[in-house]
């Protein structure tokens, strides 16, 4: 573990702003509040930390606000839509609900039999969805200790994305299960990944017409749900360097422009437009 981050030659090539008091181990997830400039980071050092990010003219400032501790590495986080509460889950097989803006203490609201890899808050249902390596997806009403529904998955949950009513779960062995959250007890469709290797991340289109899937082989697949639109599906390669093939770790859509960003293990991030099938280039400012 000490061999990691034996500091890269230049760990900040774009001269990005770095937050104060960063985690002491790898960061597993990041989540900005939907209502304010609060950033949550979960880490392999078992902590969930919160900073307030503010602007000082052109400069950016971060103020550490609060943090909570899990018993084991934390893998995922999400904010509730009211911007008051944070959910975090991880290797301790629990999800903690932390009403941090009201100064409350964290409470365990979800449990699985294996580490929880993904968590998502679904405001339209007022439920928390959790995906775990125990091959289940569970829906939780935070006021009850038992899940509202347990959904069996074909394999361990590796990725989750929700764009109500579309939800896509990526599991081990390249399964992608699509749910209509208006009927969450049935799988809407089960698809085998268009990519050839392990699924790493998924992202639903903002217009719910389909989703992106990223794998460890430096490739992203664009998949449409409607049968008539299957012709628009395609895959593209990215995050490769010569013969080195890195994995695509994260996919995120811009909420307005519907372009998306990919982040890879090669240490780079790119922006793409799936409709014009281009990589976007940013002019130097």
């Amino acid at each position: 573990m000490s061999t990691f981050g034996a500091a890269a030659a230049n760990h900040n090539p774009n001269k990005s702003f770095e937050v104060a008091q960063p985690p002491s181990d790898s960061v597993s997830s990041l989540s900005f509040s939907p209502k304010a400039n609060f950033l949550i980071a979960t880490s392999w050092d078992n902590q969930v930390r919160c900073w307030e990010i503010s602007r000082n003219g052109t400069a950016v400032a971060s103020t550490p606000k609060a943090s909570i501790t899990h018993d084991q590495p934390v893998l995922c986080s999400t904010w509730k839509d009211d911007g008051m509460t944070v959910f975090s889950g991880g290797c301790d097989k629990q999800v903690k609900m932390w009403p941090l803006l009201s100064g409350g203490q964290p409470m365990t609201v979800a449990m699985h039999d294996a580490p929880i890899k993904e968590v998502a808050w679904i405001p339209e249902m007022n439920l928390l969805a959790t995906g775990s390596w125990d091959k289940t997806l569970k829906y939780w009403d935070t006021r009850q200790s038992n899940p509202v529904h347990t959904q069996q998955l074909p394999d361990r949950c590796y990725a989750l994305t929700v764009k109500y009513p579309l939800m896509v779960v990526g599991t081990a062995d390249r399964n992608l299960i699509i749910f209509n959250l208006q009927n969450p007890q049935n799988e809407y469709k089960r698809v085998t990944s268009p990519l050839k290797y392990q699924t790493r991340c998924v992202a639903a289109f903002p217009d719910q017409q389909g989703f992106l899937v990223g794998s460890i082989e430096g490739r992203v697949g664009v998949h449409h749900l409607d049968d008539g639109q299957q012709g628009k599906n395609f895959t593209f390669k990215c995050h490769r360097d010569g013969s080195e093939i890195y994995s695509v770790n994260s996919l995120n859509f811009h909420p307005i422009h519907h372009t998306f960003a990919t982040a890879g293990s090669d240490g780079a991030f790119n922006f793409w437009d799936k409709d014009s099938k281009q990589r976007l280039k940013i002019p130097i400012s």
Binding site: T192, D207, I216, Q230, G231, S276
Partner: protein, 375 residues
């Protein structure tokens, strides 16, 4: 740049290689004829909001365009904002890989499928090796047994907490990696052993829920060979043969009563030639293994260490107990070390002198940890 009259068609399609030097105007979609690739129609369909939120689909559809050249290397921006490795890696949105949606690929042409597999393994091996694989998109996996980064890391952290030494953790991970690499090798050599179902037998038991075929430590010591016949029964038989004298522990062994055959003649199914044939190839994967004997040496030493932690780390999700820097997992060569995930916990009948031996021959390797007296 201002004395051009016509719009550049390539640019509108998204890839003009001349960039600023181009003779034609780089404007976006000002001429109607830019939809040669159906991009225009896509834009239209984009607006049509799905009537019912879960109709999940627009009624009409664009003529799909197959291979389009995207990958706009020279846009009008002079971009150097990306990190250098990324820009050289280039925006390869080309090669979109648009095979028709053959949802039920049936390998009608095994030769071409074999070629695909060979090419994939040649050019498209990702850095992370502990993965499933399918040679055809949308088809079920040919090789199963996914292990994700987080799973491996979580297991390593778990073990470290429990007090395992870094070395033993690393050895375990190496072994897992080895068996996976061998699995890929074998698949390449013989992709059609049977339906994907039998491939499932090859699952690395990383998540406890999958089969425990590869579990016993001793089996994995002969991992290179034992992976050659990728059927469950051969592993079990091998395990059983190594297990003479031990009461069968996990279910893997339960079905087998193969007599204590020579440990390396695994399984009745495969002729020994397959062993020989595969061995040299497998050598490539192992740094020190040039012959059987060194392999044994290594694992005999390692066996001790694995015994120590395997017994303490048995739990139902049989996580791997290795922490390994990513670079190692990523496919460096490794020594022949066992995995020993789901070791039977039953104690052998009592040849405790085994613990005093310097070197173990296959067939007598104990399954469980040494009693404290010998540690």
């Amino acid at each position: 740049m201002h004395n051009k009259k016509e719009a550049c068609r390539n640019f509108q399609r998204g890839s003009c290689q001349y960039g600023e030097r181009c003779k034609f105007l780089h404007v976006i979609q000002q001429q109607p004829k830019s939809n040669a690739f159906g991009f225009g129609t896509q834009a239209i369909s984009h607006q049509q909001q799905k009537p019912n939120p879960f109709g999940f689909g627009v009624q009409n559809n664009a003529q799909s365009k197959g291979v389009n050249d995207f990958g706009n290397k020279q846009s009008q921006f002079k971009n150097t904002w990306t990190r250098s490795s990324a820009s050289s890696g280039a925006p390869s949105l080309r090669q979109p890989d648009n095979q028709p949606q053959a949802t039920n690929h049936r390998c009608n042409d095994p030769e071409s499928c074999k070629r695909i597999i060979a090419e994939d393994f040649e050019h498209e091996r990702p850095l992370w090796k502990l993965t499933c694989y399918s040679h055809w998109k949308n088809s079920p996996c040919d090789i199963v047994g996914d292990v994700s980064y987080e799973e491996l890391r979580a297991a390593a952290y778990d073990d470290a907490k429990r007090g395992l030494s870094l070395q033993s953790i690393i050895e375990r991970e190496r072994n897992l990696l080895n068996s996976k690499l061998v699995e890929f090798e074998n698949f390449l050599r013989n992709p059609y052993r049977g339906p994907a179902g039998s491939a499932a037998a090859q699952q690395i038991p990383f998540p406890g829920a999958t089969t425990t075929v590869l579990s016993p430590t001793t089996q994995n010591t002969v991992a290179p060979q034992s992976n050659v016949p990728p059927s469950v029964s051969s592993f079990s038989q091998l395990g059983a043969s190594l297990n003479t004298g031990f009461s069968p522990g996990p279910s893997v062994f339960s079905a087998n009563n193969v007599p204590s055959a020579n440990a390396f003649s695994f399984g009745n199914q495969q002729p020994n030639q397959s062993v020989v044939a595969s061995f040299p190839t497998n050598m490539a994967n192992f740094s020190n293994s040039s012959a059987t004997n060194p392999a044994i040496n290594q694992f005999s030493a390692a066996a001790i260490s694995t015994q120590n932690f395997s017994s303490s780390s048995i739990q139902s999700p049989a996580f791997l107990n290795v922490s390994l820097s990513n670079s190692e997992v990523v496919g460096r060569e490794a020594t022949n070390v066992q995995l020993g995930n789901n070791l039977p916990t039953t104690v052998a009948s009592g040849d405790s002198n085994i613990w005093l031996k310097e070197k173990w021959t296959p067939g007598e390797i104990p399954e469980e940890a040494p009693p404290d007296a010998y540690v």
